[in-house]
Amino acid sequence: MKKGILVFCINTDLYRYDKIAQKTIPLLKKNLGLPVTVVTNFDTYNLLPPLGFVDYKLIDNQTGNFINNKPWHNLDRHRAYELSPYDKTLLVDVDFFCYSDNLLTLFDTDHDFLVHDQVHDVTGKDSYNFRRNSSIPMVWATLIFFKKTELAKSIFDMVAHIKKNYQFYCNLYRIDFPNFRNDYAFAIALQQIHGFVGYPVMPTKLATLPANAKVTSLDDQGITWTVEDRQGSIEHTDVHVIDKGVAYV
């Protein structure tokens, strides 16, 4: 069975995700030792530096979504199933810094689809408690493990359907975020496909460095940051970095 990592990397007018990929893809390769495929568009591809043995899939990404009034190119995630060349895929956000081999465990399970439903704010501020922002518990689409199976395909197809009718689902589930968000689309799809009675999840918390924490340095061991005049650091721990300024550190 082919195993690998799929990363979506598409620049916006404001953010240079290619510069983030330059930092995160070598970490994924080093710590997980799996082949990597980058899904990108032509403009971003032209800016990406050589990343060694990496495959590329060029797409015409869909545009038109926003976050905090800034362009947000997150509308193609449901295509991961068709775009992945692997039988077992770890779909990873480009701003996920992989500092351990923990995620390899997922490839040894019988699960068709796994995603985090809990995060751990490494600054200790518990910044991501969204439980009251919708009637459905959110999942974190930052990391998705899936196999090429009928169940996984159903979930991705359901996300495509939800995306098309997002305002309806937003109203139905009383979601406070009116712009399309994969975290909610996958949460809804998982709930519906599993018959509204729960679904398997990654039983760990996704370590996350929130947007107000500014990354001050990073290397192949870990990351340091400042937040509210305090310094923090983390080593050998996978972490999702929200601060897009990390591109320039």
Binding site: S100, G124, T204, A207, T237
Partner: protein, 104 residues
């Protein structure tokens, strides 16, 4: 004690608590492992359960982390992995904990 010293002490306590929490979450993540296609935590509860059941039963069923039943046909192999993983992770946590509390 001067208020500035008290603030320093408070800051130090906060930093230690935060780093300890991050180290603990890291340890919990590392305790997860796959066995026969199912996910288990190498925590004290799982070790105790597997050890207790294996004392009287050759094979038995336990629940994985997502509450799926799993038939354990080789309890000794599972127990060995559980103990080894648990101690590997807790030793790392112990080292990290010492660093956090001693160097601050």
């Amino acid at each position: 004690m001067e208020i500035s010293k008290l603030k320093q002490k408070s800051d130090r306590s906060y930093t230690i608590a935060l780093e300890k929490q991050n180290a603990l979450e890291k340890a919990k993540s590392r305790m997860l492992f796959a066995h026969n296609g199912h996910l288990f935590n190498a925590d004290a509860e799982t070790i105790s359960l597997v050890k207790t059941l294996s004392e009287e039963l050759g094979t038995f069923v336990i629940l994985d982390v997502n509450d799926n039943p799993v038939l354990i046909e080789d309890p000794k192999a599972l127990l060995d992995v559980l103990k080894s993983k648990n101690q590997e992770v807790l030793n790392s946590y112990h080292q990290l904990y010492k660093t956090i509390t001693e160097t601050r």
